[in-house]
């Protein structure tokens, strides 16, 4: 089930959805994610193609414009909820880490 599938997001999924806060061409995500993460995260073209398809099917993003083979997408409310849930999960993890190691980790 797609919804169960995206209960937690991989790093690549997270940044793709983050890119789509504003309307964006699918192909541009390939450049935006590395730029956003100082090249720490790269998304492969095949992975992006499949994820966009799956996000549309899951209702997390929607198509906004089709120009020939160029399609642009934007995050839906459900996609935003998923992103926020993931943010809270990561934040909770970070909080737990700080609680255990305190300042010594800095």
């Amino acid at each position: 089930m797609p919804r169960a599938k995206f209960q937690t997001l991989t790093e690549q999924m997270f940044y793709i959805l983050l890119c789509l806060k504003d309307e964006c061409y699918g192909m541009d995500i390939l450049d935006r994610v590395p730029a956003m993460t100082q090249r720490r995260v790269n998304v492969g073209s095949g992975t992006l193609y499949n994820l966009l398809e799956q996000f549309v099917t899951a209702g997390m993003i929607r198509e906004t414009k089709v120009e020939g083979r160029r399609r642009s997408y934007i995050l839906t409310d459900y996609g935003r909820e998923t992103l926020e849930r993931e943010y809270r999960r990561i934040s909770a993890q970070a909080e737990d880490f700080r609680r255990i190691f305190g300042e010594e980790s800095k």
Binding site: T10, Q12, G26, M27, L30, N42, V43, G44, S45, G46, T47, L48, Y49, N50, L51, R69, R70, R71
Partner: protein
């Protein structure tokens, strides 16, 4: 200097990494993949380059597609944006190369990649591998059941041995291919959950060995047919390998390519191509069978064989040269004998059968003695005991099957010395005692000989049998 090379590439469907390494090595030697065929892959000569290759799968594509779909084109656009150029594609398989150093891979999520490979496999290669495995198991099973029932007859026939071995090799090949895929998929799913793509194990050497065995078997089979001296078998083999197989292959590929060129939809192309393959195969087999039957009724394959008419039917009256005849053993000179020999051989065994019987229209039909014998030459010594045990029991099993117990026969030990044999057995009835049929065991062969009823076999005749059949230096017609 040739600018194109066509190579038969052997690899497992899911062995992405093995194939990528192979293509990169070819590019470094100056050969860039240009086209993927179902059997041969075409490479074109280029400057030797260090390229990174990526083999990926587009599960929605099909080999019957008239052209890449818009979705597929979009996928290509995405790949091109990151420096990946499409080298070639075949159905779902897409091969890209990239000349940038350390490029971002096309697939960066192992879970999705494993899923794409498995989905693509389930749509095309796995079903065909499973069908082949089922077919091979069925035919391999039939081969083994025939091997248990008539091992001597089967192992002495190059045709049966070749087809049987091929089916067994195919079972091994397909079982390894299907089994490895499922095993790899199960492990790859677990590894992908940990963020790793699991490399598949390469079975290339095993696959090459299997195909080499089939190839050598095929060459041996064709050579044995072409040198058998049997015109009908030669014609059938030539028609099957020269007309039928290339015919079905050309028809199927030609039809698929023609419909693709005409931009016919995927579904229609698939249906029409499969139907044409089925109908074409049926018509070709029907035509070859009809032609062979038509030819044999008109004596096309009989060579110079004599024929005669008896009660409105045409019979052949072969006059083959036999190593031992009735006339060699008895002081008789009847007209109207048929002297017929057949032989078959494989690498393991050879069988030579000879029959001397009266023609149906012979004047002295009832008085004429008959002689029949089968010489089984054991070329592979490890089969000797198996052949002896089989020959001792097989005749009795066949004879006694539908007979009341009182009429049962069996081979009982007889004196071997007069036959110059290591052992001798006489066909003996429980009720009526010994008959004129013997199984004689020589160091490298068995002779089963049947003299007609009432023939009192003398020691001199036994010696002659031994001389002619039991100790032939040049193997006589066994080598024919």
């Amino acid at each position: 200097m040739k600018d194109k090379r066509r190579v038969m590439e052997i690899f497992s469907f899911y062995d992405r990494s093995g194939l990528e390494r192979r293509l990169a090595a070819m590019a470094e030697k100056g050969w860039l993949l240009e086209k993927i065929g179902s059997t041969l892959w075409t490479y074109r000569r280029t400057e030797p380059r260090k390229l990174t290759f990526c083999v990926c799968w587009f599960p929605k594509a099909s080999a019957f597609d008239p052209e890449p779909s818009e979705e597929q084109q979009t996928f290509y656009d995405f790949c091109e944006h990151t420096g990946w150029t499409l080298a070639a594609s075949y159905g779902q398989m897409q091969v890209f190369y990239n000349d940038r150093p350390d490029p971002v891979p096309i697939e960066t999520d192992p879970v999705m990649e494993v899923d794409a490979i498995h989905r693509a496999a389930k749509r095309t290669t796995l079903p065909s591998h499973l069908v082949l495995l089922a077919l091979a198991l069925l035919n391999g099973g039939l081969f083994i059941s025939r091997l248990l029932g008539d091992p001597v007859g089967l192992l002495a026939s190059a045709t049966n041995l070749f087809t049987g071995v091929d089916w067994v090799v195919l079972i091994a090949l397909e079982a390894v291919e299907c089994g490895s895929h499922f095993l790899w998929h199960r492990r790859a799913v677990k590894a992908a959950e940990q963020g790793e793509f699991l490399e598949a194990k390469n079975h290339r050497t095993f696959q090459i060995v299997c195909l080499a065995v089939v190839g050598i078997g095929l060459l041996y089979y064709l050579a044995s047919i072409l040198t058998s001296g049997n015109p009908m078998m030669m014609v059938i083999a030539l028609l099957m390998f020269g007309v039928y197989l290339p015919g079905v292959l050309l028809l199927t590929r030609g039809m698929m390519a023609f419909l693709k060129k005409r931009k016919v939809s995927t579904g229609i192309n698939r249906t029409v191509t499969l139907l044409s393959a089925f109908v074409g195969a049926f018509l070709l087999v029907g035509g070859i069978t009809w032609g062979v039957l038509f030819g044999s009724t008109r004596g096309w394959f009989a060579g110079s064989e004599e024929t005669y008419e008896y009660h409105g039917n045409i019979f052949t009256a072969p006059q083959d040269k036999l190593p031992l005849t009735v006339e060699d053993l008895l002081d008789v000179d009847y007209d109207g004998y048929i002297r017929e020999q057949t032989n078959q051989q494989s690498l393991l065994l050879a069988q030579y059968e000879a029959r001397q019987r009266p023609r149906f229209d012979a004047a002295d039909f009832r008085e004429m003695p008959t002689l029949e014998y089968t010489v089984t030459l054991v070329k592979a010594p490890f089969l000797y005991d198996m052949c002896r045990d089989h020959l001792l029991l097989d005749r009795a099993e066949r004879w006694n099957r539908d007979m009341p117990e009182i009429a049962w026969y069996s081979y009982e030990p007889a004196a071997p010395a007069p036959w110059g044999a290591e052992a001798a057995y006489c066909w003996t009835s429980r009720e009526y005692g010994p008959r004129n049929t013997y199984l004689l065991c020589y160091p490298d062969r068995f002779v089963e000989i049947d003299f007609s009823y009432g023939w009192q076999v003398t020691p001199e005749q036994m010696t002659l049998v031994a001389e002619r059949l039991g100790n032939i230096d040049d193997g006589y017609s066994l080598q024919k």
